[in-house]
Amino acid sequence: MKRFIGFITKEFYHIFRDTRSLFILFGMPIAQVMLFGFAITNEINNVNIAIFDKSKDATTQEIINKITASKYFSNKQFITNGAEIESVFKKGDIKAVLVFEKDFSEKLIKENKATVQIITDATDPNTANTVNNYVSSILQKYQQETNKNIKPVYQITPESRMVYNPELKSVFMFVPGVMTIILMLVSAMMTSISITREKELGTMEILLVSPIKPFQVIIGKVVPYIFLSIINAVVIVLLSIFIFKMPVQGSLILLGVQSVLFIINALSLGILISTISDTQQTAMMISLMGLMLPVILLSGFIFPISSMPVPLQIISHVIPAKWFIIILKGIMLKGVGITILWKETLILVAMTVFFIVLSIKKYKIRLE
């Protein structure tokens, strides 16, 4: 036991004396969360629009006021001529043009129906979609307010509501994903580098010719990073809650337990990588290329898995990150508990055990 503690002490010395890895360990996660949270956003704010009001009556004026008053849109110009629409888009500044048809108020009163054409620049489909939705919801609200005193007319209009994330706040989408990626990268990369560093420097030779057992070395390398990754996870969650106002609907304890499970999973993956790498560079490359890319692309972090071709969907099943993101979103956004998430949890546990067993088997007790 003393042997083990001596080993862990040494690992902590290494970590805290290497300023570069400290930076990666703590600086990177914070930087990434801030970056994803603030800079990359699916929300829209101050989107430039143009308005083509063919009626110019009281109703259209009211609607236009409502639209421009919202923080989402900024009315840059009024168009007076249909031909201008295309040129305005080509310039690139305007993302949407709203066209109110002629005799808007009259049509609304007489026929109970008037159309507003929303033409969006779909070169960025995400933004186009969101613009569409926002305008529609503003129009809905207006209709509800003004039709209060009028006899209800049965209009079956599709109502779209974004559940759990009504404003489509991208932060809610990104935080679980970013947290997963950071925990995975930092844990896996750091452990794999730590072990291969010993191989590269030659200290592994001395460790081998000593009474310390392989599993003690492996666990001794993993334990410090468990502590540090937990700190990372806590920091990310705190940042999300306080700066980005992300809710945590479900149990914080369950969140903590699941995070530790995922951290151990990522750490054991790091150990596995170190058994097949001889140099730190190789370990780092495998961690980045072999882990980060598949995780970003196939975990459901940015691109929905259901829209991928079937072979890729199957592959995504073996990516631990995918299951953890489901768990995170479940706990943070939906507030569900272990009764719903047991399947994903079990899968993560099974994967972790598999990695650990494989690592112990592949750990070389000799130099060849």
Binding site: R3, K10, G202, E205, S210
Partner: protein, 300 residues
């Protein structure tokens, strides 16, 4: 018998690192493995410390088989690999404490064993190992290898790249350790260090050239060696190389070690030849054979 090696062979891809190596090291002996880079010294050390498995042959260390009982060997030997293999970012004291703990002991327990060595680096005990000079690093590495009082000590080129003063001090430490009953197997490319061992094995290209005490090895050198000097070393070497009766011509410091093909060699003939070549201040005198002479003769 502290170390037994029987017909060990080892190859890597197409390179034969060791070919049919056999010898023994007695308990308490200071045994030198002498040979240049690429001779196979490190490979042999790795096989004996259980880090590699030989292709053929068997070996035991402290009566434990290197393959079957590798765990026992790993608990009982001290090992200093070729490069400096301690933790550069830990201090002297932290390194020592770490290795003591790994071996289940403390610095205090075996302090008397390392005291002579450690007092020299103790003033620097809070300095990071990476910031020590070459000689200090070797002393620290030696201390760490001894901290658990091993029965057998393996030192792979411990003095390579270290200046002559530190080298001398290191070997003095080894002699003192030997008196405490530890078997020491050292490898080195420095032939002058060979003379300090009880017995030596000369190794080149994976083969053992000869094994014996330094004195005996030198005695068996077949020819008489002469120191030859002249005012211009370069011209002297060329002239000697052109001399039809030469057997070997090797510069050795300010002299050239010359051996002749003939058994009835008379220096007078050589003197005349060299004078004929225009060399001045010629000196030809018999000289003592060194291990290096023997090595080169065997390696030819």
């Amino acid at each position: 018998m502290s170390i037994t090696i029987k017909h060990i062979s080892k190859s890597f891809k197409d390179v034969i690192a060791l070919k049919d190596i056999s010898f023994n090291v007695n308990e308490g002996e200071l045994f030198g493995l002498i040979g240049p880079d690429g001779a196979g010294k490190t490979t042999l050390f790795r096989i004996l410390t259980t880090l590699l498995i030989a292709d053929e042959g068997t070996a035991t260390v402290a009566n434990y088989d290197v393959v079957k009982n590798y765990k026992d060997i790993r608990n009982h030997v001290g090992y200093m690999p070729g490069r400096f293999s301690l933790y550069q970012d830990l201090t002297v004291e932290e390194n020592l404490t770490f290795f003591a703990t790994i071996f289940g002991t403390t610095i205090e327990e075996n302090y008397d064993l390392i005291k002579d060595i450690y007092v020299q680096i103790e003033p620097f005990k809070n300095r990071r190992a990476g910031d020590l000079s070459g000689g200090m690093k070797q002393k620290l590495a030696l201390s760490c290898a001894l901290i658990h009082k091993p029965k057998v000590l393996f030192l792979d080129e411990p003095t390579t790249g270290v200046d002559p003063v530190s080298r001398k001090e290191f070997w003095e430490m080894l002699k003192r350790l030997q008196q405490k009953g530890i078997t020491i197997l050292v490898s080195t490319p420095y032939m002058d260090e060979a003379a300090l061992c009880d017995r030596i094995a000369l190794i080149q290209n994976g083969k053992i050239l000869q094994i014996d005490t330094p004195e005996e090895i030198v005695k068996h050198y077949p020819k008489a060696i002469y120191d030859v000097a002249a005012s211009n070393m370069y011209e002297l070497i060329i002239s000697l190389n052109e001399y039809q009766y030469n057997h070997s011509v090797y510069p050795f410091g300010e002299f050239v070690h010359y051996t002749d093909k003939r058994d009835d060699f008379n220096p007078e003939g050589l003197l005349k030849y060299l004078e004929g070549k225009g060399l001045k201040n010629i000196v030809i005198q018999p000289t003592k054979t060194t291990i290096e002479d023997t090595f080169m003769e065997l390696a030819k």
